[in-house]
């Protein structure tokens, strides 16, 4: 994991001091709220329905035990004893006092954490594959480039007042777990003739105008990537729309110009850069950053130890069930990546208590090379676990309600905070997700259904990623009533697609039954268990599902 040196530490420290001054000027009335707003947003501070919310950055979702423990302590000291992990691999504290925030930031900085650019019209936290550095299907570890991009984009003086927010995601695996198609820039790391480089996609995004990113370059060599990103950002900063907030994302610029013309303008800007303007990252710096992400010294797992793991599964069906669902193949023999589910039936997706955070921190240190990730599906991940530790790990997680065996199953829903917290929301998300989960609570049933992503947003801004859910649920306000629109067929992976609306919106109490009818239809139509929901839907089209959904009405 990347560790701050004196430069990083000083930058973050200076930021804390700067924000302390800004808060003091706000509290004294010297700064008006509309002047303060962009400043607080660039430090992750929102004014929500009931209180200020602080969003803390977790660059590309990576934590270690000490950092996670520090987050737990923040929730205990300054909040209500829990935090919410987000789809952008960050964490949010929902009940903080504005006057406390400078102290919180200083406390976080002590452990190498910050809230820089977690909101506002600037380049946001860079996100990536939560199995980075571990997955068997990965070409290389994307995290060093995520860190390089993090540094380049932090406090970038030219791009702090963009037309709108700007999100970059990076993947290096065959299976895209970073959802690069729905980001302002999506980067896929490739190798061509021994040279590492990036396939560049631009103009993806969700919100009220969901669009998939277009590929604007097949290959940008690693030595050029920051200059190329700078060209993209400059074209966007100068020509992105500023007349209408809802048309200000880069996706609208790419869409209105056409991907070809947009790409031509970026190429022209890139070509116009003089030699003296090039960033020219020294190889020594590229090497320095890569060194932080060297794989851990994996302990060899003996045949006897592997046999113990098999025996534990044979002896304990609950453990075996969890292993069957929440483990991901690791490139190192005798190891697995573990999803620590933050989706217990009846819970709020992505929420973790201080005690749970402390527990996972300790388990990571004891069993998992002190490496923890936040996934964009709002779970925690222990990327490297020797199989010999899995049984003890599972028992500890199980005792803390962190071992729900539902990774990528129907109750592993992505859910925004919705009207319970958010002042943008039109409808509640959490209670709807709980009602749906209740109906599918039984693990055997979930496993029978197989991989199925339900994503729920409480408004059109789509923080719950409903556009790319296999089943998407969008809460809307209809004359004062919260109703829910169902969409089908979205996906966020390498076959990314925007879901299509199935029909008229439903009342909250009708949503679980509607999902049940969709699932029953799938189970009756699928060609065997290997054909997951989204594939059946692609084969049959939406009609039979629509019919089942609305036949009763």
């Amino acid at each position: 994991m990347y560790r701050y040196d004196e430069f990083d530490a000083r930058l973050v420290g200076d930021r804390v001091a700067q924000f302390r001054g800004q808060v003091a000027r706000r509290l004294s009335g010297e700064l008006k709220e509309d002047e303060f707003k962009p400043l607080r947003l660039q430090n992750g501070v929102y004014l929500q329905l009931h209180a200020y919310m602080l969003r803390v950055a977790i660059p590309y979702g990576q934590l270690d035990g000490a950092k996670l423990r520090r987050l737990a302590e923040v929730s205990r000291r300054y909040d209500r004893g829990y935090g919410h992990f987000t789809t952008r691999q960050n964490v949010q504290f929902n009940w903080v006092g504005l006057g406390d925030i400078p102290d919180i930031l200083e406390f976080l900085a002590g452990e190498g954490l910050h809230a820089i650019q977690t909101s506002g019209n600037c380049i946001r936290n860079v996100t990536s594959d939560h199995f980075a550095g571990a997955a068997a299907d990965e070409l290389m570890d994307p995290r060093p480039w995520c860190e390089i991009i993090r540094q380049w984009s932090s406090f970038h003086p030219e791009f702090a007042f963009l037309p709108r927010k700007f999100k970059i995601a990076v993947t290096a695996a065959a299976h895209d777990r970073a959802a690069i198609a729905v980001h302002d820039i999506g980067l896929r790391i490739l190798e061509r003739n021994g040279v590492v480089g990036f396939e560049v996609h631009a103009g993806g995004g969700q919100g009220r105008t969901p669009l998939l990113a277009a590929k604007i370059r097949d290959f940008v060599p690693e030595t050029d990537i920051l200059d190329y990103l700078e060209a993209v950002l400059r074209v966007y900063n100068r020509h992105g729309r500023r007349d209408n907030k809802y048309k200000a994302r880069i996706k609208i610029l790419v869409h209105e110009l056409g991907a070809e013309e947009f790409s031509r303008q970026v190429d022209a800007e890139f070509a116009a850069q003089g030699g003296h303007e090039k960033i020219a990252l020294p190889q020594a710096e590229i090497d320095r950053i890569h060194a932080y992400f060297a794989p851990p010294d994996f302990v060899p797992v003996s045949a006897e130890e592997a046999a113990l793991f098999d025996a534990a599964q044979a002896a304990d069906v609950d453990f075996a069930e969890w292993c069957g669902v929440n483990l991901h193949p690791h490139r190192q023999p005798g190891h697995a990546s573990v999803t620590v589910s933050l989706k217990p039936v009846g819970g709020a997706a992505g929420d973790a208590t201080a005690e749970q955070m402390d527990l996972v921190a300790g388990l990571a240190e004891r069993y998992a090379y002190d490496d923890i990730r936040v996934s964009h599906a709002q779970n925690l991940v222990l990327p490297h676990v020797p199989v010999v530790h899995l049984y003890a790990l599972w028992q500890a997680l199980e005792a803390a309600s962190l071992a729900t065996p539902n990774e990528s199953l129907i109750t592993d829903m992505i859910v925004c905070p919705g009207l319970d917290y958010c002042n943008l929301a039109n409808a509640r998300s959490i209670p709807v997700s709980q009602a749906v989960a209740q109906l599918f609570a039984e693990t055997k049933y979930q496993r029978e259904i197989g991989r199925l992503h339900i994503n729920i947003s409480g408004c059109i801004n789509a923080c719950g990623h409903h556009h790319v859910g296999h089943i998407g649920i969008l809460g809307v306000d209809r004359k004062g009533e919260e109703v829910y629109q169902i969409s089908l067929g979205g996906r966020a992976d390498e076959k990314a697609a925007i879901g299509g609306i199935a029909g008229p919106a439903l009342k909250a109490e009708d949503v679980p039954g509607a999902v049940k009818r969709i699932v029953d239809t799938y189970l009756s139509l699928r060609r065997g268990r290997d054909e997951i929901f989204i594939d059946t839907l692609a084969r049959t089209g939406m009609e039979p599902f629509k019919e089942a959904l609305y036949a009763a009405a």
């Binding site: 040196d5 430069f7 990083d8 000083r10 930058l11 200076d14 930021r15 001091a17 700067q18 800004q22 002047e35 962009p38 400043l39 019209n121 540094q151 380049w152 932090s154 406090f155 970038h156 003086p157 030219e158 791009f159 702090a160 007042f161 963009l162 037309p163 400059r234 900063n237 100068r238 500023r242 116009a272 850069q273 003089g274 003296h276 303007e277 960033i279 990252l281 020294p282 020594a284 710096e285 320095r288």
Partner: protein, 163 residues
Amino acid sequence: MPLLKDGREIPNDWVFVDGDAPIEGVRAVTVPLERYLADVASYEGRNAPVGVRLQPEDDPDALVPHLDRLELIEISFPKYTDGRGYSQAQLLRRRHLYRGELRAVGEVLRDQIFYMNRSGFDAYETARADLPSVMEALREFRDAYQPAADRRVPAFRARHGNL
């Protein structure tokens, strides 16, 4: 309106003349880009200092042939959340090596000054930030992660002995 430059508050001798209002009787004058380009020869032949004021949508590349003769370029921030002026400044300073004064005018608040300075501005016309607070803002960060139009050595070089 107070004008801050080089750590001092200095008198503003320049007058911006908008549209096609007459400039007779004005000494140091700035005019809109379009007006300047329409009649470059007469401005260059003028026996008094001339500058140009850019609006956010203006293309600073249009000034490239004339940069040597411009003493002042003003970049206008009609709204402080409109960040196009930062790109204009970077283009003028870094790409085109403009050496004259680059002045931020319009909605210029204390908390933009650091980024403005990094982008190449060296003068700030503002009623909203006094000299001590501007000086403080310029020192808020001791380091930078990326090269820009100022002299700060980016961390990725400083780490390796200014490589």
